[in-house]
Each structure stands twice: as structure tokens, then as C-alpha cells.
């Protein structure tokens, strides 16, 4: 097998491009294009054979969505896996995809609650109060502070991800890697369940009347099965995709159905 190809400079470039992960964000594959753009120079360096290149381009255009400040480890790990694949190790394409899809959920969960849910509101709140008491550089402090963390975490993430994956694949035997891939998938599913139940907020404003009191249907639903509507929506989309419909189709269906239900006052 060949020698290591990626240099420190390649990884630094990967880090810089990884910040564009949210590029051309869309409801269909979310950060797929952004992720792809980050990988392009790396793919070009690793694979010289056109077929390998095309396969790699296509590989990273799949659905991706994670937190823009904590997705670094995924870039790093994928880089290491691609490098080993390029120099001839037997790394099935599915494993690379598994790492991406299994880690994006938990890392998004961590980033969303740590940064979007906590750090950003706290920092913004403190700086806003500073500003209100007349401090003119408070906005600057805010921007510098959060972005120091932002770029620091992302840089560290890319590098740590690369090194970890490198050592991990060095030490582990293939059946061990398989066990950990399975574990990652399970974790991904558990966290996606938690994410959907927490962040999807589909509720109905319908009410019905018993005796004198008018009761919200949503309150009744919450008693039997809270978050039933978000669950049904997620499963509905999932079912439609399973049946082979395109995401485009699903997106249009959601827009139409959602608009109609909202219009007639059911949602």
C-alpha cells in the first residue's frame, strides 16, 4: 500500500472550506453541496483516475446536515478514510457514508444545544445589556468572542477528527470497526428520534366543545401521545421516500399539503 498523501496544508485548507458547509442550503439535501465543496480539493489530490474521482464526487453529494461549528470531526474523519481508500486500503464506500450519517446527528445535537441554545443567547444577552448601558464596542466583542470559539472549535474538530480516525483505523481490526459503525448508526437513530420530537413543532389549533368548556384538541393529543403530529409527519415523509418518490416530490407534497391544511385552519 502507498504512503500517506495528505499534508498539514491540505488539512488546513479542508478546515477553511469546511466553514462553507451551509452553502446553497436547501430543503432537499440540506448541506450536501456545502460538504461537497469542502471535499473537492482533497478528492482532486487523492484520486487521479477519473472514475474514482466521479465516484467520490457523487459520494459526497448525498444528504448531509450537521451543526456548522461542530461538524469538523466529520470532515477530518472522512478525509482520513478517503486517504486510506486512495492508497489502496479496503474501505467500503458504505463505511464512509455510515460515518457521515451517524455522526452528523449527535454532533448537530451537541452544537445546537451548546451553541445555538446556550452560548450564543448568553453572549448576545450580555453584550446587548452592555450596549444598552452605552458600551459602543459591545457588538464587536460579541462578534469576536463567538467567532473565536466558532473557528477554534471547527479547526480543532477537523484536526482531531483526522487524527482520531487515523489512529482508530490503525489499531482496530475490521470486525471492531464494524461493531463501532453499528453503534454509530444506533446512536444516530436514537438522536434523530430525540431531535424530531424536540424540534419539530407541528400542532393543531382545532378545538371542540364539551359542556360549557371548549377544549383544545392538541391538549387531548398531548395527554395520550405528545408529539404525535410531528411523529406522523416524519413517518409520512420517510414512508414516501422509502416508496421511491424523489425528495423533490416529497418537498412539493409538503408545501401543498401544508399550505392547504394551514389555510383551512387544521394546522
Amino acid at each position: 500500500m502507498g504512503e500517506k498523501i495528505l499534508t498539514k496544508k491540505d488539512l488546513t485548507r479542508l478546515f477553511i472550506r469546511s466553514n462553507a458547509v451551509q452553502s446553497a442550503f436547501n430543503f432537499e439535501r440540506q448541506q450536501a453541496l456545502g460538504f461537497e465543496w469542502g471535499m473537492i480539493p482533497l478528492i482532486n489530490k487523492l484520486y487521479k483516475n477519473p472514475d474514482d474521482r466521479i465516484a467520490a464526487y457523487k459520494r459526497h453529494l448525498g444528504y448531509f446536515n450537521s451543526h456548522p461549528w461542530t461538524c469538523g470531526p466529520i470532515y477530518g474523519m472522512v478525509a482520513s478514510m478517503e486517504e486510506r481508500k486512495a492508497i489502496g486500503e479496503d474501505i467500503p464506500e458504505e463505511n464512509i457514508t455510515a460515518v457521515k450519517s451517524a455522526l452528523m446527528g449527535p454532533l448537530a445535537g451537541i452544537g445546537d444545544s451548546l451553541f445555538w441554545g446556550t452560548l450564543r443567547p448568553i453572549a448576545a444577552g450580555i453584550c446587548a445589556s452592555l450596549a444598552l448601558s452605552g458600551n459602543g464596542i459591545a457588538p464587536l466583542i460579541f462578534v469576536l468572542f463567538v467567532n473565536a470559539i466558532h473557528f477554534g472549535v471547527q479547526y480543532w474538530g477537523v484536526m482531531a477528527g483526522y487524527n482520531f480516525a487515523d489512529q482508530f483505523m490503525e489499531k482496530m481490526q475490521s470486525f471492531q470497526i464494524k461493531a463501532w459503525m453499528e453503534a454509530a448508526t444506533i446512536l444516530g437513530l436514537i438522536v434523530v428520534g430525540g431531535l424530531a420530537a424536540t424540534w419539530l413543532n407541528v400542532t393543531t389549533p382545532l378545538t371542540y366543545t364539551t359542556g360549557e368548556a371548549s377544549v383544545a384538541l392538541q391538549a387531548t393529543l398531548d395527554n395520550i401521545f405528545p408529539k404525535l403530529l410531528p411523529l406522523l409527519c416524519t413517518l409520512g415523509v420517510y414512508g414516501v421516500l422509502r416508496k421511491g418518490k424523489s425528495t423533490m416530490w416529497a418537498m412539493c407534497a409538503i408545501i401543498i399539503i401544508g399550505f392547504v391544511l394551514g389555510f383551512i385552519g387544521v394546522l
Partner: protein, 248 residues
């Protein structure tokens, strides 16, 4: 407001969003930042600072998560601050404009996120041919589209004036607004459905339901708690698997 001021403010508003896409959510579109910048452009930094900081506290919780589209704080606060300064109505005026505008303007982000699905499909074609320059083009095109989705509405609104905007917003029937809102609350389900489609196998699918049920029935857990429990669980799972393999 001079047209050049209007243009600069709209451009900056679009730019903050462009940078959110291209530089990883630098938080430049927060009212705390955008407010004073608009103030600078209009020559009243102090008012911009004050209005921006106040709007920041109002929009504290607005944050896109998992592809959801919350109130559009950038457009809302750019408009709010500009109007507060030029009309002299101060904070009160800013609030009265910013909050409803932010709600309505979220439609434009939704539009951009819907439309960019096409650039992905074009990118598929370029990938097929190994044309990485084409793929890059789609990335930049998408980002510019996102830029325009903020730039144009801001420009128009500032140009037409707040009275016009308010009249327009009042003219939209409530039914249509609630239809749009419903679409906004449903669309993130696409992301979760895709994620599920990616991860699920018949054998492991029940884990999705377990994670969902815990989060739904015990809200105190939150995503962090579930990730914590989940990591502990899969560690046990992997160790057990490894043991079995070693014994076998």
C-alpha cells in the same frame, strides 16, 4: 433615505446572510450587530446601537435549527432600525416594524431553501461528468440566490417605505399567512425523513422510536440528555458485540 443608503443597507443585509451560508454562521445578522451597522450607514450609531440591542433581546430565541426557518431577524432588524432612525420614532417604531416584518420575511428564506434544491440536481449532473468546476459553480450560484433572497426584499421595502409595507402585509389574508406558517412548520420534517431514510434498517429502526418516545414523554431530557443516554447505551452495545466476536 438616499438610494445609495438604501442600497448599502440592503447589500449589507444580504451579505450577512451570504456569510452565514459561506462562512459558517458568523452571527453577523444578529440585530445586536446589524443595528449599529445600519446606524453607522445612516449616521446615527447611537440609535442603531440601542435599537439593535433591544431587538436582540426580543429575538433572543430565534435560531434556525435542523433546517427550520424562524423569524427573519436580519431583514426585520435592518428595516426596523432604518425606519426608527429616519422617521424618528425610535425604539417603539422599530419594534412595530421589525416584529411583523420578520415573521413575513421568513417566507423569503423558505423560498431560497426550496429553490436551491434545483442547484443540487444540476450539481448531480456535473458530478456525473467529473466536472468539479460545475459543482463549484452551483455552490456559488446557490449562495448568491440566498443573498438575493435577503437583498431584494430589503431593497424594495426600504424603497417603498414602511407605510406601503404595512399596507401590503395587512392586505395578505390571514388564511394565506397561516398556510405559509404551516408549510414552514412542516418542511423541517423533510430533513428528518431524509435522515431516517439514510440511517434506518428494519433491524435498527425501533431505536428511532425509542429516542422519539423518551423525548416526547419526558421533555426534561432534551436532545443533550438523549444523546448522553444514547452514547452510554451504544458503548455497552459495542463492548458486548466485541466480546461476542472475540469469544467466537
Amino acid at each position: 433615505m438616499s438610494f445609495s443608503a438604501i442600497f448599502i443597507i440592503s447589500f449589507i443585509t444580504g451579505l450577512t446572510y451570504f456569510l452565514r451560508r459561506f462562512m459558517g454562521d458568523c452571527q453577523l445578522e444578529r440585530p445586536l450587530v446589524l443595528g449599529p451597522v445600519v446606524g453607522l450607514v445612516l449616521g446615527d450609531f447611537r440609535t442603531g446601537l440601542e435599537v439593535g440591542a433591544s431587538l436582540e433581546l426580543v429575538f433572543m430565541g430565534a435560531q434556525a435549527i435542523g433546517g427550520s426557518v424562524p423569524s427573519n431577524v436580519a431583514i426585520g432588524s435592518a428595516l426596523g432600525t432604518a425606519i426608527a432612525i429616519t422617521s424618528g420614532t425610535g425604539l417603539e417604531g422599530a419594534m412595530m416594524v421589525a416584529v411583523p416584518v420578520a415573521v413575513v420575511a421568513s417566507t423569503f428564506e423558505m423560498f431560497a431553501k426550496t429553490f436551491c434544491a434545483f442547484s443540487v440536481h444540476l450539481a448531480d449532473k456535473y458530478a456525473e461528468k467529473g466536472d468539479w468546476k460545475g459543482i463549484s459553480l452551483m455552490v456559488h450560484a446557490g449562495n448568491i440566490f440566498h443573498f438575493l433572497a435577503y437583498f431584494i426584499p430589503t431593497l424594495l421595502a426600504l424603497y417603498l417605505g414602511d407605510q406601503y409595507v404595512t399596507d401590503l402585509m395587512n392586505a395578505v389574508p390571514a388564511n394565506i399567512m397561516s398556510g405559509i406558517k404551516a408549510v414552514g412548520s412542516l418542511l423541517p420534517a423533510l430533513g428528518f425523513g431524509l435522515l431516517l431514510n439514510n440511517l434506518s434498517t428494519r433491524e435498527f429502526m425501533p431505536y428511532f422510536f425509542i429516542g422519539f418516545a423518551i423525548a416526547a414523554y419526558i421533555p426534561s431530557f432534551g436532545v443533550m440528555g438523549i444523546a448522553f443516554l444514547g452514547i452510554a447505551y451504544v458503548a455497552l452495545y459495542a463492548f458486548r458485540k466485541l466480546n461476542q466476536e472475540e469469544e467466537a
